[in-house]
């Protein structure tokens, strides 16, 4: 019973923080990138970069960490089997690997470059421009990887009958 409680709570929190993480990722890629380009053209982009971006990045990067930890708790004793792609954890294992790569991407390429863009880390204008491009591409890579990640997370067990993945 205790184990069920832990699994249930972990699954609930994994979904909650996963939605927060990927929701903000999709906000950055589907909304903010285009909005910021237009706002910058009108000279009002600072409203987004000063007031919205730091808050969004805070919840984004920490939601990523909590999502991963809750996923690891959820895998429990099968953690090793999933990450070594053992049957019947191959499908969820691929999802777990993609999620892990995305988490590393958040804390290395996206956040480290955004710190330069936001002025948290000192950088020249040239370095900021380079960091902005790298952060953008890293964010797009995560959006791209989120598509197979969600497929394998969702189909690993619950849709095994439909897709034959286990």
């Amino acid at each position: 019973v205790e184990s069920n409680w832990i699994t249930g709570l972990a699954r609930w929190l994994h979904f909650f923080f996963g939605i927060m993480w990927i929701g903000l990722l999709y906000y950055f890629n589907f909304v903010q990138a285009q909005a910021l380009a237009q706002a910058n053209a009108e000279g009002i982009g600072q409203g987004i970069t000063k007031y919205v971006l730091p808050r969004a990045l805070f919840f984004f990067r920490w939601a990523a960490v909590i999502t991963w930890i809750m996923g690891a708790i959820l895998l429990g004793a099968h953690f090793g089997s999933a990450f070594t792609l053992q049957h019947p954890y191959t499908g969820i294992g691929i999802g777990a690997w993609l999620g892990t790569i995305m988490l590393i991407n958040v804390w290395t390429f996206i956040w480290q470059n955004q710190k330069k863009v936001l002025g948290i880390t000192p950088a020249t204008d040239e370095e900021k421009a380079k960091a902005r491009r790298q952060a953008f591409l890293a964010s797009r890579v995560n959006t791209m990887l989120s598509i197979p990640m969600l497929f394998f997370m969702a189909s690993g067990f619950s849709h095994a009958a439909a897709f034959g993945l286990q």
């Binding site: 791209m144 197979p148 497929f151």
Partner: protein
């Protein structure tokens, strides 16, 4: 056919500059990003399905 694919407006937006084919990064567009994600999904699905049970 190859020429058509290389000039695909979503995936590549290739341009020949100085005799060199310069491809646009597909991640610069949302459509290109989603198409790449779907391609990776299919490739991984095929790989996972090809792994024999018990391997």
């Amino acid at each position: 056919m190859v020429k058509h694919v290389l000039r695909h407006p979503v995936l590549f937006k290739g341009r020949i500059i100085g005799g060199v084919l310069v491809l646009k990064n597909p991640l610069d567009t949302l459509t290109g990003t989603i198409v790449c994600g779907l391609i990776i999904t299919i490739v991984l699905y095929v790989i996972v399905k090809s792994i024999p049970v018990g391997a």
